[in-house]
Structure formats: structure tokens, C-alpha cells
């Protein structure tokens, strides 16, 4: 497992896929850290991002807007984004704000990685 330079956002790479772990509260501060880490991973050559919300209890609208920003960045980099292990309440919020139209949701990290297998050779499908 790779620890990000900032020391607060955990992440690791599986092939060309970066898995980034969101913390228990996704707000402006933690959202920006995730965004920074995603940018770093994409610059390093990753072609897909998995953001793992297993520990996330609460998200706020600023955090969600940052996630949308991350999706935009990934799109510009031809990278796919999968959100893994999102609890029901957070899914509800994502639906309300239209996030689910732009991102694939996976039950957990393993399912997310499995969805992304062979991604290198296949076009991005949202």
C-alpha cells in the first residue's frame, strides 16, 4: 500500500488503477485532499480511479461538488472513476445531486477493480 505524500489520504495502485480511500467525513478539506491525490495518480499514469467510501459516514455538498470536479478531471484524462462501498444514505445524496449519472458504483473495492479489469484495452463507458 502506498501512503500519499500528504500523509492523510490513503491510496494504492493496482496496475494502472489507483484506489483512494475517503475518510469518515467528506467535506471541503478532505475532498480537496482526495482531489489532490487523484490528480497526482492521474499524472503518474493511472487510467482509472477507485474511490473507496467504506469509512465514510457523512458527506456534505462541498465534498460532493469536489467529487464532481474529480470526475471532470478524470474525464479529461480519459480515465474511468468508480465509487466503491458507498452507504445507502450517501448514495441517496449522490442521486439527488446527479452524481450517479456520471460514475459507476461498486459494492466494494474488489468489485470495482473487477469491473475495471481490461480497462486499458477497452473504451471508457459511463
Amino acid at each position: 500500500m502506498e501512503i500519499s505524500p500528504s500523509g492523510t489520504v490513503r491510496s494504492h495502485c493496482v496496475g494502472t488503477t489507483a484506489v483512494v480511500y475517503a475518510s469518515d467525513y467528506l467535506n471541503k478539506l478532505t475532498g480537496e485532499k482526495i482531489e489532490r491525490e487523484c490528480r497526482r495518480q492521474l499524472s503518474a499514469g493511472c487510467r482509472a480511479l477507485v474511490i473507496d467510501f467504506a469509512e465514510t459516514q457523512l458527506v456534505n455538498s462541498i465534498g460532493i461538488s469536489i467529487l464532481l470536479g474529480i470526475i471532470d478531471i478524470a474525464e479529461k484524462n480519459n480515465a474511468q472513476v468508480v465509487f466503491a462501498d458507498v452507504n445507502n444514505q450517501t448514495v441517496e445524496l449522490f442521486q439527488m445531486l446527479g452524481l450517479t449519472r456520471h460514475v459507476v458504483l461498486a459494492k466494494d473495492e474488489a468489485e470495482a477493480l473487477s469491473n475495471l479489469t481490461g480497462f486499458d484495452s477497452t473504451p471508457v463507458i459511463y
Binding site: Y25, L58, V59, N60, S61, I62, S65, E92
Partner: protein, 753 residues
């Protein structure tokens, strides 16, 4: 019904805006209503407690009527200390009347404030009024130089009657009538006013000190059937809190809630003292954050501020001679400090070294201003507001004892500081307290379980039992007591001043009543009720002491049939209960009292007066993820209401969003988020507020920055409110003078478990 201020509402005489006029809503409605056509010929006497504040109420009423523009033409006149004779006051009344009449007819409020001669008023009069106004001015010129003072005064006061039919209906509002009696001259203006106005056939309002106005009405031999009365007392705690908040904001005096509450209690809700005090704070650039801030300013006020000059002016009027005044201060303070409730008028006269007529005049004035009670040959100077007593004390020490000023100031501050916690403790106790007076006064031949008046039997049967079992048991009790119908209730100390030494005023009462609601000697009964302070069961000695006190009170006053009833928090020891029972006294614990209250059905009314117990307040600093604390708190509260987990998460998210909103858009000076969580029938109402600028002001700043950022990102930042609206059932912004205040409500669904 008063009118809600609209955009084109013009402030004419009001010193504050309608929004800043706090409390007195019902009174304002009543005064305005007096101007209605069906009140024609009726006078409204506003009987005011001293320092209760009446001028602004009358000015607000004037403004309401001026803005209504209907047939009633408001005329406001305040007697001031500048007028020294009845004649000059009456002439001033005539001038004001014509000026305000013309201002109303021309619909030009500014005319009310202009300095105009009678001739100028004639020139300004609308053509439809020119003839009668011109006639009045000519008549006035004749009467003015006729050397008949009485005729001149009556002519001036009768001006409303000279308005011809069809030229509007004058509605005269007279303010400060207490001063009218002090004017020199051949006639006393107060009764003369009442004589003229009550016979005039038009509606009017006369406001004055309650002890004086009624006397004046009797003196003027008024037809009481044509008079209505409105009593104006000090503000309630809630109204006074609101007043302090408004005035402090207007005067830009920073103030803590603790200081506000203390001020309200210390000044007993007096609008006059409260506004004077806050004005002083503004003048001295003093923030009122702590008790110390308040009491330092209070000491300054007593020794040389607005409060000092208020009492000094009063004493100068009552006793113009310095030596008499100093003797009066000495006499007043020494009587007050000695707790000597009754002294002879003759003793006062000798000590003041003045004549019988002079002492009557001095006592009459002090009595009218409620600074003492004067009953025939005796005087009780122990009454009066605390502020008056404090003023007397410092004046006595400075003027009579010639003590060093620094020492008096230091003592004034320390005394007030020592008293402050007690003042507040008393207030808090009263809030938490079931009002015994209220309970007893509700006795009206109800049948209640007798066991509620017998602690020994109650504790044997019910102590420690579950509430439901107690309620059920009481329902099944067959031994019932029929309560008397209480017709009068007064404090014990009003019957025996010695009781003041041993208990608080609201803990001992004498209630006169009749059994079975039959008004006969045989059915007359007096209940002597006392609440004993004790954290444990009251022991025999104390119980007997109190029982004896009540018996003694009955003996002294010759009560033939009476019933003693002692109440203590935790009841009485078994021996004490036995002794009380043998003496025929009832005994109850607080629990029994509460059950009795439930039986009487007064609980709801009383408890509604207290703020809802299901209300939680929380203040968190902005930033540092403190919205999570709010979310965590609301989660606990929502669980109590049995919201399901989905709803709880929705509420938490909404609270988080509201907090972020408050932090981002308010430019808050104190950087705090105020939260109120209120649990009501099947719903949770959350109010999130912050101080700072209004959102509309903030939006200007936001729009400027929009150009600097990506539009889409900025749009996303507006999602908070969208989320809140989606997650909660009702969302609305409350109108506040500054900052934001968002109220959100979530209902418990039937499906919630």
C-alpha cells in the same frame, strides 16, 4: 387590531420603529381601538405603574392612527416639567392640537415637529378648516387677555369640541398626566382635564400614574360608566428580554445573555430603567458582558447617571428645600433599612421639621409614585423598587453621612455584585417553581383525592411506586376532599410582616373562600398555606414551628374557621406528619402538589408559560468541522423521537449543510452558529442562525467572485440549500435583522420505528 407596518408607513411621533417597539401589543391594540367610532364619548384611563413606560406606547398608537387616514384624527399631548402653570400647559395643548390637526388634514407629518405660531397655522389650514380655525384663534386672543385664568384653561381644553362635524373626529391622547397636578395655578389641571374631556362627547385616552388617576377621576366626579380602564404594569420577563435585545442592538451595546437576564431581573422589567441603563452603556462605550460590567455601570448610574437624575428630580419636586430633602432622604433610608413597616405620620413630620400640610403633600407625592405606602396616620417606607432603595442608600451615605465618594461607589458595586447571583437564583427558582398562589387560586369546589393532603398516607401507599400506578390509584381513591371556592388570596406577609423574616413572599398565602360555593358565615373558610424549604423530609420541630406560625396568624386576625396546609419538597417525617394530623393541618410533598395540579387542570396553562422542556440550544464556533458536533447532537435528539436511520441521516446532513451555509454567507462578527432543536408533537424543528450581514448583502459579494471561478463549480456550491429542501419537510428563512436564520422541520413518519 394594530396595523402591520407597511413600506409606506410613516413614523410621525414614534421614537422607535414599530419593529423596535417591543411588548405591549395588546395594550397598543386597545389604545388604537379607543379611536374607533363605537367608542365615541368614552374615555380610556391608562393606569400606569411607575416606570412602566407609557409615552412610546402612546406615540406608537398615534402613528398607527395617523397612517390609517380615517375619520379619527389623532392628537397627542404630553405634559412636561417645562410647563410650570396650568395656564401655560393649557395654551401649549391648544397649540399642539391645532398643529397636529393641520398636519393630519394636510397629510404632512413633518408639520407636527415644526415651530409654528397660531397665525402660521391659520395660514396653513386647509380651506375646509380655515373658518373654524380662524374663529378659534380670534376667540383665543380675546380670552387670553381677559384675566380669567379658569376660562382660558377651559377654552384651551375644549378645543376638540370646536371641531365642526364633518371635519374629522379628534382623538386626544394625553400623556404624563401625573405632572398635570403639580402645575401651579388657581385650578388643578388633572381633575379639570377629566371634567372637560369626559363631558366632551368624544373618545380620549388619559395616561397617568395609577394611584393618581383614579383619585383625579373621583375628584372630577366623572361618570364611570363612560370610562374604560387599562392597567399598565412592568413588562413580563420575556417581553423585557426582547426589549433589552432590541435596545442593545439599537444602541450598539454588546451584551451577553447573562447580563441581559440580570438587567431584566434587577430592574424588574421596567422599560424606563432598562432603556436608561442601556443608553448609559452606549454613552460610556461600555460592553455589558459580565455581572461586573453591569454593576459598575449601575453604581455609576446611581451616583450620577440617568437613574440618579430621575430620582433626584423627583425628590426636588417633592422637597424643594435642600435641608428638608436631606432629612427626607435620611428618614426614607432609615425606615427602609430598619424594615420598620409602619411608622406614624406625626413622627415623620417631626423628623422632617415641616408643617402638617407639607408632610401631607410630601407623603402624597411619594405615595403616588409608589415609593412608600401612606395610609392615613401611618407610613410604610419599606416598599418601592430595589433601584430606589439603592439610590436612597448612596444618597444617604453621601449627602447625610458625608462618607467618601470612593467608598460609597465601591460599596455600591460590591453590594450589587453580591446581590446579583441571589437575584438570578430567585428568578430561576420561580421559573422552576409551580406557583403555589396560582394553584390555590384555582380551588373552585373540585373534588380531589384526600390523600393528596395527607403526606403520611400518601407515602405509605404510593412513595416509590411507578407513575402509572400512582395515577391509577388516585383515580380509584374513594375518599375525596371537596375544595373550597377561593375568592381572595394574598401573601402571608401582607397579614403579618414578621413572616417576611422567615419565608419568601411567594411561599406563604392566606386564601379566603367558601365551602360548597355557598356565601354564608357558616361556609366561610380560610386556608393558610405555607411551603417549607427543605431538601429532606421535614422533621417534627420545624413542622410544628410552621403549624404554630399559621395558628398564630389565625388567632391574631380572628379567623374562626381555617385550614392549615404545609407543603415541603420531600414531605414530612412520620412523627411530623402525625403531629400535623393531630393539629388538623394538611401536609403534602411536592409530588403530591404536582398531582393535585394535574387534577385541577391548571398544569397545562402554568407549564406553557415556561419554555418548552423539549428544547435544546447549542452554540458552536464556525469552522474546525464543528458542524459535526451539531450533527451528532441532532442525531441523539432525533433518536428520542424515534426517527428511522434514513431520516436521521437526512436530518444530520441538513444540519451540516445549514451550518456550512451560516459559516459561508454571514460574515459573522462573532463566528458562532446558534442552534435550537425543538421536539414537538411528532416533529423536530431545527433553527440554525448566525449573526452577520443579510444573505442579500452577501450575494453581491458572491456574484462578484463568480466571475473569477468556474461557473459550474460555483453553481455546485449552491447545492446546500437544495439538499436541505430535499431532505427536510419544511424549510424557511426567518426574518432577522442581521445574519441568517434557517428553520427546518422534519416530521416523524408513521413508518418510523
Amino acid at each position: 387590531m394594530t396595523d402591520a407596518p407597511s413600506d409606506n408607513f410613516r413614523r410621525v411621533l414614534g421614537r422607535v420603529t414599530r419593529e423596535d417597539f417591543v411588548g405591549r401589543v395588546a395594550e397598543l391594540d386597545r389604545v388604537v381601538d379607543q379611536a374607533s367610532a363605537d367608542k365615541r364619548g368614552r374615555g380610556l384611563l391608562l393606569l400606569m405603574e411607575p416606570s412602566a413606560g407609557v409615552s412610546e406606547l402612546l406615540r406608537q398608537a398615534y402613528d398607527q392612527l395617523f397612517n390609517r387616514r380615517n375619520e379619527a384624527i389623532p392628537i397627542y399631548f404630553a405634559f412636561t416639567r417645562h410647563e410650570t402653570t396650568a395656564v401655560s400647559a393649557a395654551i401649549e395643548f391648544l397649540n399642539s392640537f391645532l398643529q397636529q390637526y393641520v398636519a393630519y388634514r394636510r397629510n404632512e407629518p413633518a408639520l407636527c415637529h415644526s415651530a409654528l405660531t397660531l397665525q402660521e397655522l391659520v395660514e396653513l389650514a386647509p380651506s375646509s378648516d380655515l373658518q373654524w380655525i380662524e374663529q378659534v384663534v380670534q376667540l383665543y386672543a380675546r380670552v387670553r387677555f381677559s384675566n380669567d385664568t379658569r376660562e382660558l384653561v377651559r377654552f384651551c381644553l375644549s378645543i376638540p369640541q370646536r371641531v365642526p362635524q364633518g371635519a374629522g373626529r379628534p382623538f386626544v391622547i394625553l400623556d404624563g398626566a401625573q405632572l398635570a397636578e403639580d402645575l401651579n395655578g388657581d385650578l388643578v389641571l388633572g381633575p379639570e382635564l377629566l371634567r372637560v374631556f369626559t363631558r366632551s362627547g368624544f373618545a380620549f385616552v388619559l395616561a397617568g400614574l395609577r394611584r393618581q388617576i383614579l383619585n383625579a377621576a373621583h375628584e372630577a366626579q366623572c361618570n364611570f360608566e363612560r370610562l374604560d380602564f387599562l392597567r399598565l404594569e412592568q413588562l413580563s420577563s420575556e417581553e423585557a428580554h426582547l426589549l433589552v435585545d432590541h435596545v442593545a442592538r439599537r444602541q450598539q451595546v454588546p451584551m451577553s445573555r447573562e447580563a441581559r437576564d440580570l438587567m431584566v431581573q434587577q430592574f424588574a422589567g421596567s422599560p424606563f430603567f432598562i432603556t436608561s441603563f442601556l443608553q448609559a452603556a452606549r454613552e460610556r462605550h461600555t460592553a455589558l458582558v459580565s455581572y461586573l460590567d453591569c454593576e459598575r455601570l449601575y453604581a455609576d448610574e446611581l451616583l450620577g447617571g440617568h437613574i440618579h437624575y430621575h430620582f433626584e428630580d423627583l425628590l426636588e419636586e417633592i422637597a424643594p428645600q435642600l435641608d428638608t430633602r436631606l432629612s427626607l432622604i435620611q428618614q426614607l433610608w432609615e425606615s427602609c433599612a430598619s424594615d420598620e413597616q409602619s411608622a406614624s405620620v406625626e413622627a415623620w413630620r417631626k423628623r422632617l421639621r415641616i408643617s402638617g400640610t407639607e408632610i401631607d403633600e410630601v407623603l402624597r407625592h411619594l405615595h403616588i409614585h409608589e415609593l412608600l405606602n401612606w395610609k392615613g396616620a401611618t407610613v410604610d417606607a419599606t416598599t418601592g423598587p430595589q433601584t430606589w432603595k439603592d439610590y436612597l442608600k448612596v444618597s444617604y451615605r453621601l449627602g447625610v453621612l458625608n462618607e467618601p465618594r470612593a467608598l460609597v461607589v465601591a460599596d455600591a458595586i460590591t453590594d450589587a455584585l453580591k446581590r446579583a447571583p441571589h437575584t438570578m437564583a430567585l428568578h430561576y427558582r420561580q421559573l422552576a417553581h409551580l406557583s403555589l398562589r396560582e394553584v390555590v387560586s384555582q380551588f373552585d369546589c373540585q373534588r380531589v383525592p384526600r390523600i393528596l393532603f395527607d403526606y403520611s398516607a400518601y407515602s405509605q401507599k404510593y412513595k416509590g411506586a411507578p407513575e402509572a400506578e400512582i395515577v391509577q390509584g388516585l383515580e380509584e381513591e374513594v375518599d375525596v376532599l371537596k375544595l373550597p371556592q377561593i375568592v381572595h388570596i394574598a401573601t402571608g406577609e401582607s397579614f403579618n410582616s414578621d413572616l417576611r423574616q422567615v419565608c419568601e413572599e411567594d411561599k406563604c398565602f392566606v386564601a379566603h373562600g367558601f365551602e360548597n360555593g355557598t356565601y354564608s358565615d357558616a361556609q366561610a373558610v380560610i386556608w393558610l398555606v405555607a411551603e417549607i424549604d427543605s431538601k429532606l423530609e421535614v422533621e417534627t420541630d420545624l413542622a410544628e414551628l410552621w403549624s404554630e406560625r399559621l395558628d398564630s396568624l389565625a388567632r391574631i386576625h380572628g379567623f374562626r374557621r381555617y385550614q392549615s396546609w404545609l407543603i415541603s419538597n420531600e414531605g414530612f417525617s412520620s412523627e411530623a406528619s402525625g403531629r400535623l394530623a393531630r393539629r388538623g393541618a394538611f401536609s403534602s410533598s411536592k409530588a403530591q402538589l404536582e398531582l393535585l395540579v394535574d387534577h385541577l387542570g391548571v398544569a397545562a396553562a402554568q407549564r406553557n408559560e415556561v419554555e418548552s422542556p423539549d428544547e435544546f440550544l447549542m452554540v458552536v464556533p464556525m469552522g474546525a468541522d464543528n458542524e459535526l458536533m451539531a450533527a451528532s447532537t441532532v442525531e441523539h435528539i432525533a433518536r428520542r423521537l424515534r426517527f428511522d436511520s434514513t431520516a436521521i441521516n437526512q436530518i444530520k446532513t441538513a444540519v451540516v449543510e445549514a451550518c456550512i451555509n451560516a459559516s459561508e454567507h454571514s460574515f459573522s462578527p462573532d463566528r458562532k452558529i446558534y442552534q435550537r432543536f425543538r421536539v414537538e408533537n411528532g416533529k423536530l424543528t431545527i433553527t440554525i442562525s448566525s449573526r452577520g450581514i443579510l444573505p442579500s448583502v452577501g450575494s453581491g459579494i458572491a456574484s462578484k467572485t463568480t466571475t473569477e471561478f468556474d461557473d459550474a463549480a460555483e453553481e455546485r456550491r449552491g447545492w446546500g440549500l437544495k439538499l436541505i429542501r430535499t431532505l427536510m419537510d419544511e424549510v424557511e428563512f426567518e426574518k432577522v435583522d442581521e445574519g441568517t436564520c434557517l428553520r427546518m422541520t422534519k416530521y416523524v413518519r408513521n413508518g418510523s420505528v
